[in-house]
């Protein structure tokens, strides 16, 4: 431990004792001030500002006009909004596959053979790469005529499918690209979880004759609950935040069929089609409310852990 530095006493004794008497009460707020200030200015206040802006017709530069629920009324009649919403639901449902898939790979890799650490790192690799690069890699993988997937499909005797140009497949193609890093993330969570499963309980269950599947279901998975909770949280958030891949791989196309709410919002507010800040904000508010359902659930669980745990 470093030796304490003795600071010269310059303050008047009366002031010093006031500080001494109150420092336990004041210290937390002094430590919190810079972080809380930044967070309020850049995160908390903008949430409410966006809600406010969503009631205006505003191009971002000129005067904003109050139109009440106008943006929301328009939204509920907007075909593109429903396409985005539907795609968000598909994202959410299919993204959940990352959780069991991550568990499966983690179980596969949870061994002690030579070089297993390198294998684990390489399996985790996709998570470290930027989504922009993942998007480009999969765009190349899916490319019609020469892409690796097309070659494999041709080899299997199936026709040429341009995944990213086909309205029927495009969203699924992008989700598959997103699952790649997401599975890696869930895998690493479960590998850590498996490392901490109590060996005594496994031995006891083995003596009771529990075999692989029953063992997994009744002994292992209950002990992996903390890992599962985090995996579900990050996967839900990841699914609803999906923006990068849509922007990189298709730009929302073909004909807007791969849009999700986050992308549609950006398109309305900041693209060459016009700067409709109010309308964009209204889309963002809807996305926020959807996210809030999940956030409330997560926080609920964390608060009850916090109260019960300590």
């Amino acid at each position: 431990m470093a030796t304490p530095v003795v600071m010269p006493v310059t303050a008047a004794p009366a002031q010093k004792s006031w500080w001494k008497a109150n420092q336990r009460r004041l210290a937390p707020w002094i430590f919190l001030a810079p972080g809380v200030f930044m967070f309020l200015v850049y995160v908390i206040i903008p949430i409410f500002e966006s809600m406010w802006i969503s009631f205006y017709d505003w191009d971002g530069i000129g005067e904003a006009t109050w139109i009440g629920w106008g943006n929301y009324v328009e939204l509920f009649d907007d075909e593109a909004f429903y396409t985005s919403l539907k795609n968000n639901v598909i994202w959410l449902v299919l993204y959940m596959l990352a959780v069991p898939a991550g568990l499966l790979i983690a179980i596969f890799l949870n061994q002690n053979v030579v070089g297993i650490r390198l294998y684990k790192s390489l399996f985790f690799f996709p998570f470290v790469i930027s989504q922009v690069v993942v998007g480009l890699i999969f765009a190349w993988f899916y490319a019609p005529n020469f892409g690796l997937l097309t070659q494999i499909l041709a080899w299997l005797g199936m026709g040429d499918i341009a995944i990213l140009a086909d309205e029927r497949f495009v969203t699924y193609g992008i989700i598959a690209a997103g699952l790649w890093p997401q599975i890696a993330y869930c895998m690493i969570l479960y590998l850590t979880g498996l490392n901490n499963v109590s060996p005594d309980q496994i031995e006891a269950a083995r003596l009771d004759g529990a075999r692989s599947w029953r063992m997994l279901w009744h002994v292992i998975i209950p002990q992996l609950r903390p890992a599962t909770f985090i995996a579900v949280v990050v996967t839900v958030i990841g699914a609803l935040r999906s923006f990068d891949l849509v922007s990189i791989m298709t730009d929302g196309g073909p004909y807007g069929s791969s849009r999700v709410l986050s992308f549609y919002m950006y398109e309305q507010a900041l693209s060459e089609y016009g700067f409709r800040m109010g309308y964009g904000a209204a889309i963002a508010v809807i996305l926020f409310l959807i996210m809030m359902i999940f956030i409330t659930g997560f926080i609920w669980k964390m608060v009850s852990d916090e109260r019960g745990g300590r």
């Binding site: 470093a2 420092q23 937390p28 430590f31 919190l32 810079p34 972080g35 930044m38 850049y42 995160v43 903008p46 949430i47 500002e49 966006s50 971002g60 949870n110 061994q111 053979v113 790192s121 390489l122 690799f125 996709p126 470290v128 930027s130 989504q131 922009v132 690069v133 480009l136 890699i137 190349w140 490319a143 892409g147 690796l148 070659q151 993330y185 479960y190 850590t192 498996l194 490392n195 060996p199 692989s212 997994l216 903390p226 890992a227 958030i237 923006f243 990068d244 990189i248 950006y266 507010a269 900041l270 800040m277 964009g280 904000a281 926020f288 996210m291 999940f294 997560f298 926080i299 852990d305």
Partner: protein, 283 residues
């Protein structure tokens, strides 16, 4: 240990496992391997339709130097560092303070402030987009790296506070109590007692935040326009538009852009994973 250690299995199963491992890995990384191969192919290979096979000659140097010569990717990478490094320093500094405050002091608003950070960390970026862009414009920081840095510091502080607070909570509280009995001031407790013990947490957060910020694409497109400040993720997107179907260049560019966080990950692997899996073991 679950599943049963493979050393205890039959020799046949053991052999099977040792064969399955590399095959699974190759399948898992197939798209990446394909892109790596493409990045070292001469353009004539692509023109001749050799997209998939081995390269006819290795054009590693040609392709990678072409990427640096024909595009501002060097500038983009420099910009990414200019955004990422100050963000890491700023975020770690702020969250050491907030994490300490929330872990050590039991004041009434403690949980409320804590969950403000946690909840804010989960919101969709789009609900922040219009006001944050506006704020940055009004401060005259639009299209500068500083504008991007300030936002990133503020937002990442949410996640980092959660991390630091839980880390400090797990430290032995007696250390702090006994220092207080001896009359050590709160500031000195933070600086001389708690901060030195936080080194592993600081290392873990530094690598994580580095990776998150390096890979950020959304805010780079919202807050920056010109190539003087554009980070490499957003830069790569615009290059993709210019290099239509020049897949050997796109691949080489992608690999260059992905390299810094990958190197970081392999150098600091233990810290990286410790950061990501925070809370995955207790709950």
């Amino acid at each position: 240990m679950f599943p049963k250690p493979i050393e205890q299995a039959s020799p046949g199963l053991r052999l099977g496992y040792n064969i399955a491992l590399p095959i699974a890995l190759i399948l898992w990384l197939l798209p990446l391997i394909g892109v790596m191969m493409t990045s070292i192919k001469p353009s004539s290979d692509l023109a001749a339709g050799n997209y998939f096979g081995l390269p006819s000659s290795i054009a590693l140097v040609e392709n990678y130097s072409a990427v640096f010569e024909n595009s501002p990717i060097g500038q983009y990478i420099l910009n990414s560092f200019k955004v990422t490094i100050p963000t890491v320093i700023g975020t770690v500094a702020l969250s050491c303070l907030t994490g300490f405050a929330l872990a050590v002091y039991g004041f009434r608003a403690n949980l409320l402030v804590f969950f403000m950070f946690v909840a804010g960390n989960f919101v969709p970026f789009q609900i922040l987009m219009v006001p944050v862009r506006d704020l940055t414009l009004n401060m005259g920081l639009y299209d500068t790296t500083l504008g991007l840095i300030l936002f990133h510091i503020a937002f990442q502080t949410g996640f980092c506070t959660l991390f630091m607070r839980n880390f400090i909570k797990a430290l032995p509280h007696e250390l702090i109590e006994s220092a207080r009995v001896e009359g050590v001031s709160e500031l000195k407790i933070f600086w001389h007692i708690v901060l030195p013990l936080m080194r592993p947490a600081i290392a873990a957060l530094a690598v994580l935040v580095f990776t998150f910020i390096w890979n950020d694409y959304f805010w780079a497109t919202v807050l920056v326009q010109g190539s003087h400040a554009l980070p490499v993720t957003a830069g790569l997107y615009s290059l993709n538009g210019q290099w239509v179907a020049a897949w050997h260049l796109i691949s080489a560019g992608s690999i260059v852009a992905a390299l810094p966080p990958v190197i970081m990950f392999f150098l600091m692997q233990r810290h990286f994973i410790a950061g990501l899996t925070l809370g995955a073991t207790k709950g």
